[in-house]
Amino acid sequence: MKRLVTAVTVILVLVALAATGCTNKGLISPAPEAEEEEITSTCVTCHTDKDTLKELATTEVAAKSEATTGEG
């Protein structure tokens, strides 16, 4: 009897786990590495933060010659 109770309990737990998708996580969820890498990416952190960008952005050197006159 005790064995049966244990067996049923184990089966129920497994069913519950399977139903919530817990046991399969590693197999079916799409490439978690990629997402995680994106979350910790310093590129994203910085380029989505206005204040950091304001602080760090450097004025570029003038890309055009002052000697240019007239239309192109």
Binding site: E38, T48, E60, E71, G72
Partner: protein, 360 residues
């Protein structure tokens, strides 16, 4: 645009999009684990268009690589047509590199960022816009002539009817033909898929009953001869390297003129005997800084070239009546309009005989 704004990925939706999910580093290089700006940017590729789009957009990438935007083959063939040597390492090859490359148009310069001409910067967040921005992409490069004409920025000259009546953007008429046809072409008038007026105005040819001018002239005058107005002409461009080692160029002030001449590109696609002609900035000495006599056959091609000004009007001074045009010397490019040193180059496009007045 502020410097920081140019690089601000303001729309977080980008990160969830097809392109965003690819990951910054795959496209731009650099190191996404570094906290320090300089270190994170080691190996950075500012414009990754050249390699990274063709994995998923093979078809577009293949034709784009041969298009005028992608190759600038139009500039090369224009120099070659005057006998110029553009082979690798030649003076004109250096000219192309120093003065023309900036107009090389990558995928990103139409779909993601402003072109170098505006010193870069994201157009809207980091969105990959299916439709390029008229203002920040097309007109950024095509502003001096086409853009200014279309939007009515030349003093005293009205904007194009398609802008004033319908607010049509560049992309209302120009679409994926800009990706090229897959063949290398000679000039901006050789794209086989280029838009035509008749694509939208199909009935101009069939429905001429109330329009005697259409009835008489649709096959020998281009549409612009009757429907465009004065446009910009440039003269005397010289390119050089300035004291700081930067490419520079000078030219005479531009002139607004309207000139009808013979069609230099007459073909079955462009059968018109008459078209409007635009003076291009080029002169024999344009590249003198780089060497002597770089155009041994300068006169092989006219300096007044086939043109399609983007300032279309329903009514124009020349289409007011038949005789507004017939016999009107002002409208036609004649010997007297040509600079002495350019007479030989333009001998095939100047009009020698005006149409006589018809009393209408």
């Amino acid at each position: 645009m502020e410097v920081w704004e140019k690089v601000f990925v303001k729309d977080a939706k980008f990160l969830q999009s097809t392109h965003g999910k690819v990951g910054c580093v795959i496209c731009h290089g650099g190191d996404s684990q570094e906290e320090d700006k300089e270190l994170a940017h080691v190996g950075l590729v500012i414009d990754p268009s050249d390699g990274d789009c063709n994995t998923c957009h093979k078809d577009v990438a293949q034709t784009h690589d041969l298009s005028l935007h992608g190759t600038l083959s139009g500039f090369e063939s224009a120099l070659e047509a005057r006998g110029g040597d553009v082979s690798e390492g030649s003076p004109l090859d250096t000219v192309l590199e120093n003065h023309c490359q900036e107009c090389h148009t990558s995928c990103g310069q139409c779909h993601v960022s402003r072109p170098d001409e505006l010193e870069g910067g994201l157009v809207s967040g980091h969105k990959f816009r299916a439709t390029p921005s008229t203002q920040y992409n097309c007109v950024a490069c095509h502003g001096a002539r086409v853009g200014a004409e279309y939007l009515g920025e030349n003093e005293g000259i009205p904007a194009d009817v398609h802008w004033t009546q319908e607010t049509m953007l560049c992309t209302a008429c120009h679409s994926q033909e800009l990706h090229g046809s897959g063949e290398l072409i000679e000039s901006r008038y050789h794209n086989p898929d280029m838009v035509k007026c008749e694509d939208c105005h199909e009935d101009v040819w069939t429905n001429t009953a109330d329009n005697p001018q259409h009835e008489q002239h649709l096959s020998d005058l281009s549409c612009q001869v009757c429907h465009s107005v004065a446009y910009k002409n440039c003269y005397g461009c010289h390119v050089a390297i300035d004291e700081e080692g930067m490419p520079c160029r000078t030219s005479e002030p531009s002139v607004m003129q309207f000139e009808i001449g013979y069609n230099p590109l007459r073909s079955s696609e462009r059968p018109f005997k008459y078209v409007v002609l635009r003076h291009v900035p080029t002169c024999a000495g344009t590249c003198d800084y780089y060497g002597d006599a770089l155009f041994p056959n300068f006169n092989a091609v006219s300096t007044w070239k086939y043109a399609t000004p983007h300032n279309i009007q329903l009514s124009t001074p020349q289409n007011e009546s038949c005789d507004a045009c017939h016999g009107n010397l002002e409208l036609f490019l004649t010997e007297e309009d040509i600079r002495p040193e350019e007479k030989a180059a333009n001998k095939d496009v100047v009009v020698d005989e005006l149409p006589e007045t018809v009393g209408k």
